[in-house]
């Protein structure tokens, strides 16, 4: 039941997205613009600064993620469908999981484009340890979206939602950004340090477990009016 509802919510979002592709295209383009802007800041005399690639990758993910989170729930608000979704005889946490899966999938698509692009533009050896990089990206994205989905859902009713989402989301998810950036840059060193990257993945897994549990636990009372 739980999983079926979550998959249904995911399928609904997916169907809407496939028709319009609005969030996908805008998020991708926004991520690209971020990379471009940071390139101007971190490239000196034709050479990117050391570690810049890891930082740019994660900042682009965080910014694009915030945009996607805001848009997904804006669509629900605009269509006045969130209430209907919440009124459905389904466990509320399942709705949260469905939404979370949708946003994680969207960001994974964005990352699939960002990683090769950054590897190409900044001569970063991002593909030497593909499994570790995928581990970092996946755990990091889940952690970021776990907090983000909950806050974005709560902010739907608030007037100041556009400014409140980043204000609330960034301080809480900075551990994710730190772990992601440090882990990725450990892989980009001239002598890559797998142990450090694995340690950061372990921390990200802890973060994911703690915050997904908390979000599942608080989603029900938070979304009750």
């Amino acid at each position: 039941m739980f999983l079926r509802v979550a998959l249904l919510v995911l399928r609904k979002d997916f169907a809407i997205e496939v028709r319009s592709r609005e969030i996908l295209y805008t998020t991708l383009f926004f991520a690209l613009s971020c990379v471009l802007i940071f390139a101007f800041a971190f490239v000196k005399e034709g050479k990117p600064l050391e570690d810049a690639a890891a930082g740019i990758l994660w900042i682009a993910i965080a910014f694009a993620g915030t945009l996607a989170l805001g848009r997904t729930f804006e669509r629900e608000r605009y269509g006045e469908t969130l209430r209907a979704l919440l009124l459905a005889p389904a466990p509320r946490p399942a709705i949260y999981v469905g939404k979370l899966l949708g946003i994680v999938l969207l960001l994974v698509v964005a990352e699939a484009l960002l990683v090769p692009l950054i590897a190409l533009l900044f001569q970063a050896a991002l593909f030497t340890y593909p499994l570790l990089l995928i581990g970092l990206l996946l755990t990091g994205t889940v952690g970021f979206c776990a907090v983000g989905t909950l806050f974005a859902a709560m902010l739907v009713r608030a007037r100041t939602r556009d400014v409140m989402l980043p204000i609330l989301l960034y301080p809480i998810t900075v551990p994710v950004i730190i772990a992601g950036v440090r882990g990725t840059s450990a892989l980009l060193q001239p002598a890559p340090d797998e142990a450090v990257a694995t340690m950061w993945i372990a921390l990200l897994v802890c973060f994911d477990v703690v915050f997904v549990t908390l979000a599942l636990w608080t989603f029900e009372p938070l979304m009750t009016e």
């Binding site: 907090v147 909950l150 806050f151 709560m154 902010l155 009713r157 608030a158 007037r159 100041t160 409140m164 204000i167 609330l168 301080p171 809480i172 900075v174 551990p175 730190i178 921390l203 802890c206 973060f207 703690v210 915050f211 908390l214 608080t218 009372p221 938070l222 009016e225």
Partner: protein
């Protein structure tokens, strides 16, 4: 608590007056000398801050799941105190670091996480103030998530390489610097805790009176 309020205020004031004497009498630390004395102020401030974080988090959880207005008031007060004691820690830390490390700020795991915690609770206050209707629930979630971040902050110093003194400084203080240093430390810590309790009570009472005033005002209008 109301009966105890005045005696506790007097006691806390006296303790804060006597604390400098104890700190002055405590022996000097071998390598750092006078600079180390800020420790009697810095660590208790962080201890009070962490207490405030937990009070805020637990009270928020209570207000979220039970819907008690009293818990919400306690959470709001504790949120403000978190920022207050956190600022004390963030000001005293660099003062010490300037002398001990030669720089005001170091991007070390522990320092970054402490700054982060402060930011989370500033965001908490911002939501409370500007979040509009229904923001108390939002703020409650923020406080719970902030509290969940504390283990990441506390453990950070012991797992990751860091130049911040380890948290084991406190239990081994007596062995290293003698009982007088230990007494001065716990005296300061107790003073800060009392100050925290007093400020919390005061802030909660203020909010209670504000709510009561609103209620009376509405009654009068009807």
């Amino acid at each position: 608590m109301k009966k105890l309020f005045v005696p506790l205020t007097v006691l806390t004031a006296l303790m804060f007056m006597y604390a400098p004497v104890m700190i002055a009498n405590a022996p000097y630390e071998a390598t750092m000398g006078l600079v180390q004395k800020i420790f009697y102020f810095h660590v208790p401030a962080w201890m009070a801050m962490f207490t405030a974080v937990f009070v805020c988090g637990i009270a928020s959880a209570l207000s979220l799941f039970r819907g008690t207005p009293a818990a919400d008031r306690v959470a709001a007060a504790a949120g403000e105190l978190t920022v207050l004691f956190g600022s004390i820690g963030l000001v005293t830390g660099p003062l010490w670091a300037r002398k001990a490390w030669g720089v005001w700020w170091q991007w070390d795991a522990r320092l970054t996480m402490a700054l982060l915690l402060e930011l989370i609770f500033i965001a908490y206050l911002l939501v409370r103030k500007y979040g509009g209707p229904g923001s108390d629930k939002l703020a409650a979630a923020m406080a719970i998530f902030g509290m969940a971040n504390v283990p990441f902050v506390y453990v950070s110093v012991n797992i990751w390489r860091t130049i911040h003194p380890l948290t084991t400084v406190v239990p081994t203080l007596g062995d290293k610097m003698g009982p007088r240093a230990l007494a001065a430390f716990w005296f300061s810590a107790l003073s800060f805790m009392l100050l925290f309790v007093l400020l919390l009570t005061m802030r909660v009472q203020l909010d209670e009176r504000r709510a009561e005033l609103d209620r009376l005002y509405l009654e009068e209008e009807e």
